[in-house]
Symmetry: C2
Subunit: 340 residues, 2 copies
DNA sequence: CTGAAAGCGCTTACAG
DNA sequence: CTGAAAGCGCTTACAG
């Protein structure tokens, strides 16, 4: 069909080695005179030669392609921009470095070893869980992997791990709420995301910091709601006395804002709501959402950059990088209503 | 490093052909007894065999990978969910059919022929422009390509083309506005997206339909603003007499809503604003955005499905599919203020 | 029913 | 300075 290096060699009357050298560099000892090189190039142009990258990959063992695994890729179109920022930042880095980006479906946990099937040079895994045994297989595998937002991994792994300081973020939130005068605070997780690494770590930080502050918050102050949040009105009717909600991420916080409005609950007058992530999404809610901010783009850029370093044989300086969070105070939090 | 088919053949004492047959199916005439097959499989498991997909691709000419080209990938993180829906829908279809999805950087228009470098079985191209000469090269090339939202392509191409009925959408918008009593309407494009196929087609439809309705709208009723829209207050101060704005997409409409609010212009009381696309984004603006709705997900699903059909040798039924638009009336449009 | 062998298109040590 | 040849790991006609 399309011309190969061999076809060109034949037409030009030289060896395939010379053609390879001229067209693709490489080839240590080969040397070709300038005129001959020009000639080969002209023939290649004439024959509309397109190098077969698959063959080169097979031979060289390098595909110049990085894989990306999103746990719950579906949530990308939910509205909040967390995953979108991630994708955008990773893509920018990779494209600039002349890598391609392949989105993988959620991995069949039976055979993660099939990731080293030659198509990928490395992998970025978002929200990798320490459960599931995938972890061991990945560590054993030959494929360089960088974890992103997989806080529960702990430090007992040789996997590169980039995540934000979730505890620090929750601390900022709690400082803010307690500073406003809130004492009874509810932490909301989402059914189906209960075992998401970040969610778990944030919940634990919630307990820990509440205790530090002498708030006496316990299991009854942590709930799991489904995205459709029929639970909210029921909960509100129970008059539990909570004056503020901390949602584990901005998506959940956003849907709480909506349901609260429909239920006639006024935010922040009746109830303060705080989220986590703080993308531009928080500017579009009504009221605008107070949220802990993690530097998603920066984290994604660091992860992608490091992975490429790893692939190209440059040793990374640290195995683990934790990014500090900040707090963006917007309109969804205020002092609690006077106790009635 | 990792075991190959040949290693297994050696250990099992059979031919590589048999191993290939047992492990990957295929191989027409080969027949292997049940016990021998079991034995081979057990050896493979023992040796932790992982098939090299790159080698298979080189041999078979099929990569099971589809490429996706977004013109202006950067805009994905701007907020509106148009591109996100597209990505999500395409990914779902491909994953289900066991294809991988590779995001490509914007293509070097010098050598689109390098797309057929063996790594892709097909390509989905969003917002492909008829300019640039890429078109011809693609048509000539051996790679199956499906265009998505590339309305300006016209019907003189043998490229598959899936797009919405932009003119129909603009007609719905104009019917709505004129029905409310608007006569002087501004069409807003975005600098840098002026040559985007959809934008061009929508602008032309705007002219055409305005004329049909006897509105006498001309060049002074179409403007290009930059995303930072410093232009809005300047334009508003000129008192042009426009009572409604049609933005070429929801992103532009959204930023107009913001700037208008900052400029103290009340929407829809002082000014009606309409957008195009109508993703969930339109529910998050203040006020909620009236917009023409194109069935983005459905279109993306159709495009991806058809491309896979094409790749796998099933002939598509039509070369071109146009999807009708609808109108989602929300809070950003109302009757014009009484003329003063 | 099974195996030996060619070949997908490239790169790269090696020999001249 | 240049070319012939092996080999990346697989698949598949072909011969036995």
């Amino acid at each position: 069909m399309s011309a190969t290096i061999r076809d060109i060699a034949k037409v030009a009357g030289v060896s395939v080695a010379s053609v390879s050298k001229v067209l693709h560099g490489g080839g240590g000892t080969i040397r070709v005179s300038a005129e001959k090189a020009e000639y080969i190039k002209s023939i290649a142009r004439e024959m509309q030669y397109v190098p077969n990258v698959v063959a080169r990959t097979l031979r060289s063992g390098r595909s110049n392609t990085i894989g990306l695994v999103f746990e719950q890729f579906g949530s990308i179109s939910a509205g909040p921009l967390y995953y979108v920022y991630l994708l955008d930042a990773i893509a920018s880095v990779l494209f600039e470095k002349h890598y391609r980006l392949t989105i993988l479906p959620e991995i069949d946990s039976d055979k993660p070893e099939s990731l080293s099937d030659g198509r990928l040079d490395g992998l970025i895994w978002c929200k990798l869980d320490r459960n599931g045994g995938i972890l061991n297989l990945i560590e054993r595998g030959s494929l360089p992997v960088v974890a992103l937002n997989s806080s529960t991994l702990g430090s007992d792994t040789r996997l590169m791990n980039f995540h934000c300081d979730n505890e620090g973020g929750i601390r900022l939130i709690m400082d803010h709420l307690v500073g406003l005068g809130h004492k009874k605070i509810l932490f909301v997780m989402e059914t189906g995301e209960v075992s998401t690494p970040d969610a778990v770590v944030r919940r634990d930080a919630f307990y820990k910091i509440a205790k530090e502050k002498g708030l006496h918050l316990g299991e009854e102050d942590v709930v799991q709601w489904s995205h459709s949040t029929t639970e909210f009105p029921v909960w509100w009717a129970k008059q539990t006395g909570h004056t503020a909600i901390v949602a584990w991420n901005e998506a959940v916080a956003g849907s709480i804002l909506e349901v609260a409005q429909r239920a006639g609950v006024s935010v922040p007058t009746d109830l303060s709501v705080v989220g986590f992530d703080s993308t531009a999404y928080c500017e579009t809610t009504t009221p605008r959402l107070t949220a802990a901010c993690q530097p998603i783009r920066e984290m994604a850029i660091a992860a992608a950059t490091t992975l490429v370093d790893l692939v190209e044989g440059r040793a990374p300086t640290h195995l683990r990088r934790v990014f500090p969070c900040t707090l963006d105070v917007r309109g969804s939090t205020s002092e609690p209503r006077k106790q009635s």
